[in-house]
């Protein structure tokens, strides 16, 4: 009798549960999206939507669609092209004049003026505003509006000014002043191809096409950026049609996506390099240039590119990619020559010496281990010292140079210029540099003050000669950006990893 009651209770529970679950099946969770709507998975939620503040790729990906930048780069040639500035010229060594595009309106209807552009620059320079991008614009002493022109004064002749202005988003001065920085970041208004619709903190941001945009009508009518930190979760989102496009994928994830006939991998070589830097000051065995050359010859670059990067990388001849200004095509690439490496190790008397390799989990441990094996094969014992990123940075950037012998890292200045790479990495006293060379310092300092591209290029050629001789660092390969997309999306990503929705098409 009581057993019957138990059975009845179970039956009742099942009677409720089964139809509920079945109902889930009737309404597919990945419902058809409106045509023109794109759902994008990125690793991180944007740190801010104020384009004057933070700068990292997932934050850029969202806010650069809400705002127009002063300049853009041609996605194929990487040449600077007009955007909010229709033309520009240098009026003297330290003054630049940009004609501001007439007729551009912010999405609240107010016109975009040269004063807004000047305000956008000066805001980043304002110490109280504490922009994380300050270092990128610190060459500017001030910006002013002169009629329809933006005038930028630099402290010194600044050859990299234009490249950084491609990252300058123009904000509406009146609105920002009216609502304040905090409210502006919560409800940004720009002149870009898309307008901000809503945000769920830590989760997603919704944009829709800006009907007032000056540059036409983009195919993507609405976009939802979702923060999905786990790579495997981004892949299943693509597979289950929860997302149309996913960024920041790994080579392994790309292989997985390739197996699904309805998904495609979109990838492009970027200006990011994978590199080794040596401690030439307190690096133990690495103080000897012969040991550094031995390391360069011991590494099987092809194996790194083919096995670990699964082809999503290209060989390079220095610490720069061919995309960047200053790349010397004539420089010979370091080659895999274990016999020569063994000879050099013996010559330096370093056979069996312990080399400490500093790294962090932010850098692919498989690559670090592959390098460890390569070096072991030529007689160097590598001790991997992995700490988390903040500790790694603290150690490596400490002026005591007491961090080990070799470190593995990745680098991109988002500026397509040698100045943004070899200056911070190797200039004496720089936080990343454990190398010192007066001739190198002189060359890169000079190259910072020369506008003429020919002369500048010649200076970098010489600087790279010095680096090739002293070998304080070593380029391993040029990295690719890897995206996954479903058949609705057609898009060619560019080397700058700019994520402009207006360059995408969606069905």
């Amino acid at each position: 009798m009581r057993a019957k009651r138990l059975r009845a209770a179970v039956a009742a529970a099942l009677a409720v549960a089964v139809p509920t679950l079945a109902a889930c099946g009737i309404h597919p969770a990945t419902a058809e999206r409106d045509p023109g709507t794109l759902v994008i998975d990125t690793a991180n939620y944007p740190s801010t939507l104020d384009p004057g503040k933070q700068y990292d790729s997932d934050t850029y990906a969202v806010y650069r669609n809400i705002f127009d930048q002063l300049l853009r780069r041609d996605p194929r040639t990487h040449a600077l092209v007009p955007w909010i500035a229709t033309s520009w010229r240098q009026t003297d060594a330290t003054t630049w004049r940009f004609a501001i595009r007439p007729g551009v309106r912010f999405s609240d209807g107010s016109p975009l003026t040269a004063a807004d552009a000047a305000f956008s620059v000066n805001r980043i320079l304002d110490k109280k505003f504490a922009s994380q991008q300050f270092a990128n614009f610190s060459m500017i002493s001030r910006a002013t509006a002169d009629g329809g022109d933006l005038v930028i004064h630099t402290a010194q002749p600044a050859p990299t000014l234009l490249t950084y202005l491609t990252t300058l988003s123009v904000v509406p001065e009146r609105y920002v002043r009216k609502v304040g920085d905090e409210k502006f970041a919560a409800r940004p208004i720009g002149s870009g191809a898309y307008v901000f619709v809503s945000a769920t903190a830590g989760s997603q941001v919704e944009l829709r096409a800006n009907p007032l945009w000056w540059h036409g009508r983009p195919s993507v009518r609405a976009a939802v950026f979702r923060a999905v930190p786990n790579v495997a979760s981004r892949v299943v989102d693509l597979q289950s049609r929860k997302a149309d496009l996913a960024t920041g994928l790994t080579p392994d994830a790309a292989d997985q996506i390739k197996r699904d006939p309805r998904l495609a991998v979109l990838s492009t070589p970027t200006e990011r390099i994978a590199y080794l830097a040596f401690n030439t000051i307190k690096g133990g065995p690495a103080n000897d240039p012969r040991v550094r050359r031995a390391v360069a010859a011991a590494i099987d670059y092809r194996a790194l590119i083919e096995n670990l990067q699964r082809g999503y990388a290209r060989p390079i001849n220095s610490l720069l990619t061919p995309l960047a200004f200053g790349y010397d095509t004539k420089l010979p690439a370091a080659g895999y020559d274990p016999a020569a490496a063994r000879r050099l190790v013996a010559e330096a008397g370093a056979k069996g010496a312990t080399v400490v390799m500093a790294t962090s989990p932010s850098f692919n441990p498989q690559i670090v281990q592959a390098i460890q094996a390569d070096l072991a094969a030529v007689g160097l014992k590598v001790q991997i010292r992995s700490t988390d990123q903040p500790t790694y940075l603290k150690k490596v950037q400490d002026p005591g140079h007491d961090w080990g012998s070799i470190r593995f890292g990745r680098w991109s200045c988002s500026c397509l210029d040698a100045d943004g790479v070899i200056y911070p990495l190797f200039h004496t006293g720089g936080i990343w540099s454990s190398y010192t060379s007066p001739s190198f310092d002189r060359l890169v300092e000079q190259a910072r003050r020369v506008i003429d591209p020919k002369r500048r290029g010649a200076l970098y050629d010489q600087a790279f000669q010095v680096l090739a001789r002293d070998l304080p660092g070593l380029g391993l390969f040029q990295d690719y950006a890897i995206y996954g997309a479903n058949a609705r999306v057609s898009w060619t990503p560019d080397a700058q990893e700019s994520f402009f929705l207006d360059t995408m098409k969606v069905r």
Binding site: L6, D41, E182, R226, V236, C413, I431
Partner: protein, 324 residues
């Protein structure tokens, strides 16, 4: 506690104000200790300014950021400022997002609470049922089928269970959304993932408590008086097994409310767990401090509430409650 109250009244009034005040005092002391340790440990662990500047930044750029964040002040000054502000409910501004840490927590807490409660309900339903059934059917096929399931649930890590569930229900069957929060349906997979872990613990405790009670004389008496299984379980055993089950459930709840880090990351759940990971990675000191403070406060409150609940369930506990 002085036992001046007559025993009967004490039983009816399980928690005297003095007892509660004592417990709250202890709790505040514990919170203060935790926050102090976290405050100093964080500052030994890396420099947030280095993570905030662009790649090509100079030492001067980093120094400027440190200065703005107040990290160049003496540790003691930073600490006293933090305590002073904390007393006024100001836990500082996020270094990364430039917003009050309390605002960030307030945005994330509902998601975590939602998930925690759903997971707890599921694990209680499953755990108590399985624990009871396996105790009553000891050595029978029911136990042999259910126990391996419980063990598997506990043995499988969340990052594996979670992805497995997603592969079956989102990629394969297309029934449920794979990640993110949009509506109650998206709550299902993450809460099942979480529940798999806690349900096992609850099932084992329930089973143990049940077996212990089943050996008691009163059970035999009840059986002899003709009580069937259903009545035995609901009338006699439930109350007597509730205390250990409640203890485990409370600990699980406190755990879950602190943010289920792995599950939230797998399911892109915008709760405290994700915020914790990101803030620790970025060394966003004010946010980490606020999260730790909140998580320990939850622990303390849940434990206090459990102690008080014991008295409601079993008055014998309340009678001696002063030493709890």
């Amino acid at each position: 506690m002085t036992a001046v109250l007559p025993r009967r009244r004490l039983a009816a009034l399980p928690a005297t104000p003095r007892y509660i005040a004592g417990r709250i005092g202890q709790a505040l002391l514990a919170l203060f200790g935790v926050v102090t340790i976290v405050f100093f440990a964080l500052r030994l662990s890396g420099d947030p300014a280095r993570l905030l500047v662009p790649e090509g930044a100079t030492a001067a750029d980093i120094a400027r950021v440190r200065d703005r964040l107040g990290l160049n002040d003496s540790l003691w000054h930073q600490y006293t400022t933090f305590l002073g502000d904390a007393v006024h409910g100001n836990l500082g501004y996020s270094y990364v997002q430039n917003r009050p840490a309390t605002d960030l927590l307030a945005e994330r807490l509902p998601y975590t609470a939602n998930l925690a409660v759903a997971a707890l309900v599921l694990s209680l339903l499953f755990g108590v049922t399985v624990g009871t059934v396996t105790a009553l059917k000891r050595g029978r096929w029911q136990e042999r089928v259910l126990m391996p399931i419980v063990l598997a649930g506990q043995a499988m890590p969340a990052f594996w269970t979670g992805l497995l569930l997603v592969l079956v229900f989102s990629v394969g069957l297309r029934w449920l959304p794979s990640t993110g929060y949009d509506g109650p349906l998206s709550l299902l997979l993450p809460s099942v993932t979480l529940a798999a872990l806690s349900a096992a613990a609850i099932a084992r405790v329930t089973r143990g408590a049940m077996l212990e009670q089943l050996a008691q004389d009163y059970v035999r008496t009840a059986r002899a008086k003709g009580a069937g299984t259903w009545r035995l379980v609901t009338r006699h055993l439930a109350r007597n097994t509730a205390i250990p089950v409640l203890t485990v459930a409370a600990l699980e709840l406190a755990n879950l409310l602190g943010g289920a880090v792995v599950t939230e990351v797998i399911f892109a759940w915008p709760g405290l767990g994700q915020l914790t990971v990101q803030s620790v990675a970025a060394r966003d000191f004010p946010v980490v401090q606020a999260i730790v403070l909140l998580a320990s406060a939850v622990y303390v409150v849940v434990n206090l509430a459990t102690d008080l609940l014991y008295g409601v369930i079993d008055r014998r506990v309340a009678a001696g409650g002063g030493t709890a």
